[in-house]
Structures are given as structure tokens and as C-alpha cells.
Amino acid sequence: MSEKELRAKNSVPAGAGREEGIMNRAAERLYNGIAKENPTFVLMLGMCPTLAVTTSAINGLGMGLTTLVVLALSNLLISLLRGLIPNRVRIPAFIVIIASFVTVVQLLLEAYLPDLNKALGVYIPLIVVNCIILGRAESYAYSNPPIPSLFDGIGMGMGFTVALTCIGLVRELVGAGKAFGFKITPDSFEPVRIFAQAPGAFFVLAALVALQNFVKAAGARAGRDTSKIGSGCSHDCMNCGEKGCSQRFYDDGKEE
């Protein structure tokens, strides 16, 4: 989406505020998560939920916010416990912490937002294996103080929410002629139903990655640093960590 680039271009660099220390770092983390390293549009992390729940904007928003809560809380707790967790068992420890928060959030959703819980179904417990959360725990929260970690989680979560809502909006608009449940296209517009169903998700993502490749190539020509773009699955994702597919498979499969 061009919105991201627009924001990256127009927004004030993170360090520009004159407040010192903690506020500055918090703001920097928020900006980093929403624009600079947007988990979906830039890093390409967490693709399963991205494709599965974005059948409508409202579902995307719900999933994004749920993930945001889990991400922020688990980042905070992992950062607080970082002195206590031994290095060798850190991944299982992260998973237990993340799974606990997912369970809490799931029970809350069941109690207070049963409709959303039903719409998101099995993807709520599957937040546990969302690579964004483990990736942030591993690459940020485990080695940084609590407040920046909390804001890192919030920023990443907001970036994820924005991305899911955008994708959901596009699919809802093309697939059903609606935005957030309200019909907005004229009657003469025949919705392309396939976009609200499973195949549409693949097409939208394909267009997105193609756009990303295009931006990356243009950026490389202009001499900008594009190493972050599309780097998700080769760096911080749990599936694709050091013993995973990054070396063995992704290198030859992903980019030419």
C-alpha cells in the first residue's frame, strides 16, 4: 500500500521531538512499528492470520487489536523477566508467557465479545505461533528495558492492526462492495465475490508483495537501505530461525 511509503516519507523522524530519554524512545518505537518496520507491509511476518481473518475490515481490526494486546503485554513481561530467564531456555519461556496472555485474552473475548471470538475462531489461540510476537520477544524485549519494550509491542501491534484493517478493507470493498459493513458502492458495481473468500487473500497478498518488490528495486536504484523489506522470514521468525528454513530453503526460494 502506498500509504506506508507516504507516511514514511512525510512523517517527522523519530528523534525530532525535544523531550528527552524515555518519551523519545517510546515515540521512536511506535514510529518504528507502524511505519519503518511495519510487520506486514515491510517485514512480511505473521502471514497466516493476515490472510485468514481479513475477509472484512472489522475482522482485520479485531484480530489486529487482539494481537496488539498480547504483543504489548508479553513484551513488557519478557523485558521485566529478562534478567531471570536463562539464555538456553528462553524460547520455551517466551512461548509459555505468550500462551498465557493469549489464553487470558481469549477468555476475555469469549466473555465480552463473543461475536468477534466466533468470527476469528481458531486464529485466536493461534496467536501463540504468530512469528511477530516471538520475533519481537527475541529481537527486542529480551535485550531492552520494559518501557521501550512495551511501546515496541504497541507500535508493532498498531502496525499490524493498520495493515490488517487495510487489507480487510480492500477485500471487503472489492468482494462485497462494503466498508466496515456499510454498503458504499453503487448498485451497478457487481462485487467480485472471490475476493472475500480464500483465493482473494492470495491475490491481494501477491499484489502486495509485488508492490514491495517494486519499491525495493526502486529504493535500491536510489541507493536507499532496503535490507529490511521482506526480511521477516529470514531473520526473527520462530519457524525460520537459525535452525529453520532461512538457510536451507528460504534463501533460494524467496528472492531471485
Binding site: 480464500a198 522470514c233 519457524n239
Partner: protein, 194 residues
């Protein structure tokens, strides 16, 4: 007890009609990452069948006899993910010791599956749909077979795609995703089967 007919319906439903990758989007990482050659895709598929069937059996037993018994069903997400991670480690060690031949064939894929969301997804779906242990195992097996079918077909198409002239921006992942989308449309055709 589950009747044979019910099991057959689950078998077809989980492998073809609601295919795990193409309509539920679980296990996308290996689906996109390991589908470059038919041979590796088939290896990955076999490993997934093996692990998911085993994991749904173990998760089913633990759920029925531990979690339900002590009324702590809400702990299932935590317990399942830990059990699956431990199980895959165990399987890897066991295969390396006891069946070197099989380990040679499947070993490299096992670490990739540890946190494959399809494994956890099946375990949780089994609980949500209130399947018994046997039904759960059949569902797990069928899901994994569906994954294998999808990944092998995709790998076959990708081998052919190598020789085509694709626009620069669409090279690599976007083309694979478009292919997957078309496959998903084709698999929609199965929806009238049940």
C-alpha cells in the same frame, strides 16, 4: 462411538473441501518456502503427515485424560504448544537413534514443523469441534494429507514456472501466491462434494 461414515466425511472434508493451506491458511510458511521442488515438497508432506497424526493423537489423549479430568480445559493452548514442541524434539531424537533411514528422509524437515501453525491448529480444532481421540487422529491425518496434496501440486507448477517469463516485480513470491490463489479457486470446486 464414531461410525465409519462419519470418519469418511471427516477424511474427505479435511483433506479436500476445507484444505488446510488453501482455505484455512495454516502452515503457509512451509507451503511457500519448501515448494520449490517436487521431491522436497513430497518429503515435507510426509513429515507433516507423520507429525500431525502423532501430535493429534498425543494432544487428544492429554486433553481427554488430563485436562478434562482435572477441569483445566482453559490451559489447552499452553499445554498443546509445549507438548507439540517437545514431541517433535522427541521424534527427531528417536528417529536419529532408531531409524536412521527414515531420519535421513524426514530429518531436515522436522525442525521446520515444530511450530508449524497447522499442527497446533489441528489440535485446537479437534477440541473445538469436540472430536473424540480416534476422530481427532483421523482429522489430523486428513488435514496433513490435504497439506501434502497442496504442496506437491504447487511444487509441480513451480517447476514449470521456472521457464516462464514473469514481470520483474512478480518474480518469486508474488507468482507463487498467484498460483496458490488459482489453486484455491480450483479447490473451491470440492465444496459441493459433501
Amino acid at each position: 462411538m464414531e461410525s465409519v461414515k462419519e470418519l469418511l466425511v471427516i477424511l474427505i472434508g479435511s483433506s479436500l473441501v476445507s484444505n488446510v493451506v488453501l482455505s484455512q491458511f495454516l502452515g503457509l510458511c512451509p507451503f511457500l518456502g519448501v515448494s520449490k521442488k517436487t521431491k522436497t515438497a513430497a518429503g515435507m508432506g510426509t513429515a507433516v503427515i507423520f507429525v500431525i497424526t502423532l501430535a493429534s493423537a498425543v494432544a487428544g489423549v492429554i486433553y481427554q485424560y488430563v485436562l478434562v479430568r482435572f477441569h483445566v480445559e482453559y490451559l489447552r493452548t499452553i499445554v498443546f504448544i509445549l507438548v507439540i514442541a517437545a514431541l517433535v524434539q522427541f521424534v527427531e531424537m528417536f528417529l536419529r537413534k532408531a531409524m536412521p533411514g527414515l531420519y535421513e528422509a524426514l530429518g531436515v524437515y522436522l525442525p521446520l514443523i515444530t511450530t508449524n501453525c497447522a499442527v497446533l491448529g489441528v489440535a485446537i480444532t479437534n477440541v473445538q469441534k469436540e472430536y473424540g481421540i480416534l476422530t481427532g487422529v483421523v482429522n489430523g491425518f486428513a488435514t496433513a494429507v490435504g497439506f501434502t496434496i497442496a504442496i506437491v501440486i504447487l511444487a509441480g507448477i513451480r517447476e514449470k514456472l521456472e521457464y516462464n517469463d514473469v514481470p520483474a516485480s512478480f518474480r518469486g513470491m508474488p507468482m507463487v501466491l498467484l498460483t496458490a490463489g488459482l489453486m484455491a479457486i480450483a479447490f473451491c470446486g470440492f465444496s459441493g462434494l459433501l
